[in-house]
Symmetry: C2
Subunit: 191 residues, 2 copies
């Protein structure tokens, strides 16, 4: 379960609560390659505590609800290290829009072109969100070792969205140039 290992990696930086993990860590930087549901984070923390990978301590707060702050244990560090050394399989790619594209011959061009525009807009929105991820700029002197890798995962996100948009634009062109023949049964006069 990679969610557990992502959490181990984060708690290896500093102890955090489930709320911190969700709002400060996952939603800010990790979500674009491993989004995490709030409910699942808490349940996974329970499981990890059961495994002895992390230890939770209740932090009583007067002005706000109490927090359970989790710290990585030695066993947790060992598990993280073991996992980081394990080669990972390429995940399955499941994209409903591509299924639509595959069967789009059954749709009028106008509808599939609308779908494509909507996909472009959604991809562009993600690209814009990436701009808000705190990326250390290269002119601020040499990057810390961590920052090299953080930046690479960000670059992946950017490259991925750009590739998708390029392909979507290409698809629009392809569909337009292989446009649906008009209502006549004959081939169009211009070839």
């Amino acid at each position: 379960m990679s969610l557990a290992h992502a959490i181990l990696g984060l708690l290896n930086y500093q102890p955090m609560s489930g709320y911190d993990l969700k709002h400060l860590a996952f939603d800010r930087t990790i979500a674009h390659f491993w989004p995490a549901d709030q409910a699942q984070i808490y349940r996974t923390l329970d499981k990890m505590a059961g495994e002895g990978w992390i230890a939770g301590e209740l932090e009583v707060q007067s002005d706000r609800p109490n927090r359970r702050v989790f710290t990585i244990t030695e066993a947790g560090r060992a598990e993280l290290d073991r996992w980081l050394h394990t080669p990972q399989a390429i995940p399955a790619h499941r994209e409903a829009f591509l299924v639509q594209m595959f069967f789009a011959a059954q749709l009028p061009d106008a509808v599939i072109l609308e779908h494509i525009d909507q996909q472009i807009a959604a991809r562009q929105a993600r690209l814009d969100q990436f701009g808000q991820i705190i990326a250390p700029s290269p002119d601020e002197g040499p990057l810390r070792r961590e920052q090299v890798f953080w930046r690479l995962t960000l670059e992946f996100g950017l490259a991925h969205e750009r590739m998708c948009i390029e392909w979507l634009e290409l698809s629009k062109q392809t569909i337009r140039s292989a446009a649906q023949p008009p209502d006549t049964k004959d081939a169009p006069h211009e070839g």
Copy 2:
């Protein structure tokens, strides 16, 4: 559930058994954007028959086990059409290797470079598999309308793997040029 809709799209071409769907349709062409487990296909067929989207008929065979051949119904065609008109959300991207990359500062360069090479090999293998997908070549005259869209989904797969490989190569270069400092605590003399 998009698996059901992928099946509807396939059965809209011609009636098929669960076995056909798995081995002729999914594993051959659709798997790279919607892989399907055999057990899940059969269970989904049961559900779809329950919804009235498809009708199964037992085909008795003497030399081989009997087949249940499914045909799309009018309700199924309507459901397929409805779904094809529905805009699709961008799916979550979950990639364990990127989690490793994010935390790779805790690994020696040699290990992460090995992981990268293994990822490149796996991506390359997928690229090679795509070569076996029957892609209608553009010099065989004008493509049938279906083939335009089939080809586009194939192009997506190719573009995706190529992008991944490019990024992996870039990552190797980046890691090498920002190499781990040697065991001395001082900064290296060349800089």
